[in-house]
Symmetry: D2
């Protein structure tokens, strides 16, 4: 990671705190639906982290593969993206 | 489209019939939850169509871009995949 | 279906046309990524149909189950919603 | 939470460790795609937690609402489920 490194680390630390907060809610027997709302917030936060990592990947690794002219590297990068797409489509 | 052309067309025709079937269910005042089950089936069928189109795209257009050595074409193909990924992540 | 019946039928007819349009694109060998964009549009349209059906279900069937005081009917309605939720979570 | 309380807490603690592990990967400049794979694993783990919380909610809060015969409570429970469904549909 390059450009978004610090932003990603900051978000991950916040995320860790959010997960700990959910555990506390469960320990305090808070209402299930409130717990689910917090889980959804963590899911959304994870999506934001993914976005930052993907952007970084695109602007660095993928650009490198294009610039290098190395066909094997390009193929690897395409296949990785296709696999990510396949997983994201659920 | 190349390899999966006929398979995609066949599935799309079936899909059209499924959508028409849902309309008939609504006209016949069938139970909402049964309608929703059919809508979910159409959604799953669409996913299958997408998969076939993506595979075709990968094996032809992307391979062409790699083989050509044309950096602009490669960049376009990467950006398109990144945009598809972004949409698929929801 | 009650309130949203006509709206749902109208959307389903439009959807049928969209699916037919995608088949035409494939027959005309249109670019894969443009096909995928149209498939995504159909997916979004389906989501809109689902929303209308769910709203109708909520305002009629679920309200009926509450009003009836019939525990078995209420349980059925809850279980159906939980199953829809489970599927929607992917 | 009742039945699944301990299972949920155990999973949340593991999840916290997974998030910390991702932060470590980013600090060690690990490959973006490997980071994304771990993020996807956390997403899947969250889904598992959600499932346990929903099951608990269904077997306790929803059953209570049915048993009570309290229409307002039943309506609240239905609306909450409908809202969760709406969010889950993306």
């Amino acid at each position: 990671m390059h450009e978004n490194r610090e932003a990603v680390l900051k978000r991950l630390r916040r995320l860790e705190g959010q997960v700990r907060g959910i555990a506390r809610m469960v320990e305090e027997d808070r209402y299930c639906v409130d717990v689910l709302t917090q889980v959804a917030a963590v899911r959304a936060a994870l999506k934001g982290v993914e976005k930052l990592v993907i952007d970084d990947h695109a602007s660095r690794c993928i650009e490198d593969a294009i610039a290098s002219g190395d066909r094997e590297d390009q193929r690897t990068k395409f296949i990785e993206l296709l696999e990510l797409l396949d997983k994201a489509r659920g």
